[in-house]
Every structure is written in structure tokens, then in C-alpha cells.
Symmetry: D3
Subunit: 135 residues, 6 copies
Amino acid sequence: MKIKVSRKAHFNAAHRLYRQDWSDSKNNAVFGKCNNPNFHGHNYELVVSVTGKIDSETGFVIDMKVLKDLIKKEIENSFDHKNLNLEVAEFKNLNPTAENIAVVIFNKLRPLIDAKNELEIVLYETPRNFVTYSG
Amino acid sequence: MKIKVSRKAHFNAAHRLYRQDWSDSKNNAVFGKCNNPNFHGHNYELVVSVTGKIDSETGFVIDMKVLKDLIKKEIENSFDHKNLNLEVAEFKNLNPTAENIAVVIFNKLRPLIDAKNELEIVLYETPRNFVTYSG
Amino acid sequence: MKIKVSRKAHFNAAHRLYRQDWSDSKNNAVFGKCNNPNFHGHNYELVVSVTGKIDSETGFVIDMKVLKDLIKKEIENSFDHKNLNLEVAEFKNLNPTAENIAVVIFNKLRPLIDAKNELEIVLYETPRNFVTYSG
Amino acid sequence: MKIKVSRKAHFNAAHRLYRQDWSDSKNNAVFGKCNNPNFHGHNYELVVSVTGKIDSETGFVIDMKVLKDLIKKEIENSFDHKNLNLEVAEFKNLNPTAENIAVVIFNKLRPLIDAKNELEIVLYETPRNFVTYSG
Amino acid sequence: MKIKVSRKAHFNAAHRLYRQDWSDSKNNAVFGKCNNPNFHGHNYELVVSVTGKIDSETGFVIDMKVLKDLIKKEIENSFDHKNLNLEVAEFKNLNPTAENIAVVIFNKLRPLIDAKNELEIVLYETPRNFVTYSG
Amino acid sequence: MKIKVSRKAHFNAAHRLYRQDWSDSKNNAVFGKCNNPNFHGHNYELVVSVTGKIDSETGFVIDMKVLKDLIKKEIENSFDHKNLNLEVAEFKNLNPTAENIAVVIFNKLRPLIDAKNELEIVLYETPRNFVTYSG
């Protein structure tokens, strides 16, 4: 009997969609206005979910405060008010699409979550665009 | 490693819950005020999700703009500001419950989404009533 | 020292924008797809606010439950799951734009709210379109 | 071909996180400010989802009104404006974490939902903390 | 030329509507289930707005971070995870209705906001019930 | 008898808070992480409201579609997916705080709205930070 525990967080960041190994015209053709070389940005909303058994002692799968602090330390502190392309190491050679950002967040958090629990990342780039990843 | 990409859209439409082959009293007994012969309506909120592998070239499962335009062309243009019972061919003989509308939307979009990707439809009839369908 | 007390309610209704005394082509030119003769519809969200002094006995301007029940009796029961053009007397000869619906709601509630208090109506036709009226 | 039908409800309640068999200092160490002996409270938002086949007669998996009334009778009437620790029998000896509340709601509703349909409970303790349980 | 700057915050608290100087039956008659002696609770959402001239140096009316920290120090730290009736001095002899809580918050913040600026408090007791106070 | 008509729109943009005539250390001291020289960004939500008399012919204060198109042409096309500091002329020498962006939007739209109607701008920088300006 597993239950999923979810915590919502957010960060504001600048990015552009862009590949260094493509010509400007190809970047424009594929990424359109998201390729603006001066960047644009988003209020990213992030939902991190951990699925596991309820600890019969505490009634928790994972303490929400622990999960909140983990997201703050590992994700918000690295991504909030940053330029993802220029300042976040993982996107040095990786295009910061919503898909890729979600995978990076998953990979950063996965080793820090008890291996017997499942992890899911939902990332809203805008209220109308979002992605869901669970490894 | 699959990831789900979601795009939210909306349309406003009139409908009534009703079966032509039932008596008025049976329609009333089963569908209540939703059977009003003069129709009522909703702001439908629609979330279309496509699940597949991230293209390593673009970082996309599917370009959100392509998905947005597809929803606009196939669903919003046919459903928005329409009377579902009278003006949308699929509901000529099909009761436009939230369940049936979601299935119709799925069936319209499924052939247009790459067959190796999964498709999911979430349809909010109101902020408190919604359905989820993935074939 | 006045304070404003607000209660949110909702109703689902069909309508069309239309004037009987105009030609079809003029109705179409002015109201576009909102003039669909088969109607379309909305989940209307309604916020009714009453501004007055706090009663020192109860700590209320107006009991929220009283306000909730008043909205239900006077507005929801008349408008919910109805066709505004065909079934609501006030719109027999009045175009049911968001503006006019808000005025009608105000006029229905004003006599029922203590005359020394102010009344304000906010009506959301969609999450992106809304109007505010206070007489 | 199954489809999931969801209905959103809510209730306001007081609670504290606490185990009678633990010392005060252990309760404080584990549950922090959530262990306030004078209680705190939440506006719980509840989404109950039933997954099954669409009935070809009605176009429903389950009539939303039936589901709404069931939630009101079984959950809202027992939990709304209550102190979960003191007034809800299920939490006499069970810590009312979001996880445990969701399991209790599931167990109360499961016998009342057609056995061939699946049941899922999503419970928001705050807009940022929520849990999902499906047995 | 004045502009209003708003910051949203929140706190979770328990309360009951109740007057010590009334009989139980009068408290029940007036406050209904909100008078539950075991308390119930809410996720209060709070919007604090400061209206004034834009400082031509900074482009701020008030630094949002300063306003955020002020709300945290003065309101969240005193109210969050508390029982308003038992643990917040201002409600020792004041019924903690939404109206009275908003006035208390206003009175706590007013001396701390530059006297030439206006202050407004919006307090959501639930997503459907809220009050607005500006002195 | 005036009524306020509101239309919600949005745009995604990058910005930094920064004055060219200040030293880096002063910019940092005043604007903190909002001064990141590599920029950060937001999903700005914009509510434009026009207050005036209801036209007795149409039932409109202003046609919502006209207002929507005006916002798109004048604001979204200039601001969406842009770097406000580098690409929007009005911010060449003006710090793009939420306050200043709202004033710029007001000043761009004011000449295009009938002079007998009032104009109000609400700009959400994040769901928790927003400003309101009406000239």
C-alpha cells in the first residue's frame, strides 16, 4: 500500500532554447522566439512527489518539511533568480527545455531520496505548459 | 525514459445531457437539471498530454507550439462557442457527458500524434468536475 | 471604519449575445461567434461583496452563511443550468453580456442587503474576462 | 477502455500531529510546530476519483451528483468544522497526517464504490502539500 | 500618481467563533458549526497592499522583500500553526471572525508602514470567503 | 452608473533590477539577487480594466475582443519572450520593477482607450507579488 506525497515549490529563472552546434538560422527555425539571444524567463512551479509506504511510527512517507528543505537546498538555491544557460552547470551543454530541466531536477534529487521510494517531478514552465517525469 | 508533456487549452460551449431514444421523464430522472432542453454551458478546460522519449536534438518530446496549434485546429475551432449537441457531428447520437467529450477529443487527436507516443486527455467541465482518459 | 466581506459562488449557464431588433448580419458583425444562434455557455464565477461596519456583538458585517444562502436563493437558483436568453426574465429584452448580467445581479440583491451597507458584484465570464459593478 | 472521473470537495478542520505514547519532547522533535497542543487547522481540498468503464446508456462512469452527495454524506459531514484528533473516531489512535487522513477517506469510500471501479484520493493539506492514495 | 504594491502570504491556524459572555445556546444559534468548542481551522491567505508614490531612485513603493519579511515577522510568526483564540493575545476578548482578524493584522502593521502610504489587508478564510480592510 | 471590464493576459520576459548610474555594490545592496547581471525572468500576468458606462446598444463598456486584441498588439507583441532591459525601449533608462512596468503599460494603453473611460493595470510579477496602477 503505497501513497504519493507531493510538495510544491517555485523558482524564477531566465533561459533561452538554443544549441551551440546549430547555426542561428536553424536555432530560429526550430525554437522561434524561445531562442531570443537576450533570454526570456519564467516563474517555474515545481511539484516533487515521493511515493512509498507510510511509516507506522510517524504517519509520514517523508516529512514534508524535510522534503521542502531538500528542494530549497538542492533546486531553489541553484536555479532561483539564475540564468539557466549561463549559470547552471547542467545546462552548459544541454538545451534548457522544460523536459530537460525536469530530468536534471530528477537526477539531482534521486540520490537523496530513499531508494525504496519512487520520485516524480512535475515542472510548470507556464500555467499552460508543463511536464511530468519519473525516471 | 519517457516524459509527459502537457498543454492546457480551453473552449466555451453549450450542451445538455439527453438521449433522443428516452422519454422526457426518463431523461429528467437520470440527468436532472443537466437535461434542460434550452441547454446550459461550461468553460471547458482541456489538458492534452503526450508521453514519449525526449528528442536528443531538440530537447522536446513534442514542440509545445505544435501541440498548441494542433489543439486549436482540431478541438478549439470545432468546439469553442458551439452547441455540442447541435453543432458537433460526434455528438449527434452521443450524449455529451464529460466522459464522452474526453473520448471524442482523444479519438480526434490520436491519429495526429506520433504512434510511438502515448496520449492523455484531461477535461474539466467545471473546476470541481473533471475526467481523465488515455485510451 | 468599514470592511468589505466577499463570498464567491458560481453557476453554469448558456447564452448568446444578440439583439432581436438588429438584423442577423448586424448581430454577427458586432457579436461575432458570441452570437451563435444555438448558444454557447460559461461557468460563471460570482463574487458578492458587502461593505459596512463590523457588528461589535458578532464580529460580522454580515454572516457569511446568510450571504451564501441569499446568493443561492436569489441568483444560483434562477441562473444555474439555465439558458439566460430564454429562461431568465430579466434578459428577455436585455442582451446578456457580462456587464448586463452583473447589473441584473446587483439589482436583484440590492434591496435584500441592509441599505446602510454597500454592495459590489464581480462576475467572471471566463477566467480571463470579468466585470465589477457597484451601482 | 477505462476513464477516470474526478470530483473536488473541501472541508475545514483542526488537527495536531501527535502520538499519545510518545513524550512531549519526542512529539516536538518529530512534529515541530504541527504538534501545537492547542491545535492548528487547514482548508483541506479533496479530489475523489473513480475509474471505470463508461456506461453506454448514460455516458457516465458514475453520476457526478451521486459522487458529490456521497462525499458530502461520508466525508464532509464527518470532517468539516471538526477537530480531527478529538472528534473523528478514526483518529483516536491514529496520527492525522495528510497520509493517514487520505487512507481513512479511502477506506470509508471504498466499500461504497462499485467494486469493479478503482478509487483514488488526492488530499491537499495546503496548496503546497498534498498526497495521493489509491489503495 | 500612486501605485499599490501587494504581497501574498499565508498561515494555518485553528479558531472558533465564540463569545465568553454569551450562553452556549446563544453561541450556537449565532455561530453554528463555527462555534465547535474543539475548534476547526483554515489555511488563511493574506494579501498586504501598500499604496504610495514610486521612489524614483529604486523604482519601488516599498521593497517587496522588506514587505515579505515584515509580514513574516509580525503576522506569520504570531499566527501560523497557532490557535487564535488561545494563543494570540489580540483575540483573548475578541471573536476571531475574518473581519476581526483583518482589523488586527491592519493594526499590527499600520505603525510599521510609512505614514504617507496607505495600507490594505485582504484576508481569505477559505477560497470562497474573504474580507478587505483599509482602516 | 459605471462598470469595470477586465481582461487578463500574460507575457514571459527576462529582466534584472539595475541602475547604470549606480556602482555594482550599490546595485547589489539594494536589489539583491534581482540584480543578477545574467538576468532572471517571470511569467507576468496582466489584468487590464476599463471603467465606463455600458453602451445601451451593445451592452458593452468595451468589446472584450477589442480589448484582448489591443493588449496583444501593444503589450504582448512588445514584451513577450523579450529581455525588458535590453529590448524594450521604455526600460533603456528605467529600472524594470513591477511598479515601473505597470506604469509603462498604463502609458502605452491610455491614449488608445476612450478618454471618458478609466484605465487600471494590475501586473503580477509572481503569484505572490503584484501591483495596481490607475494613473
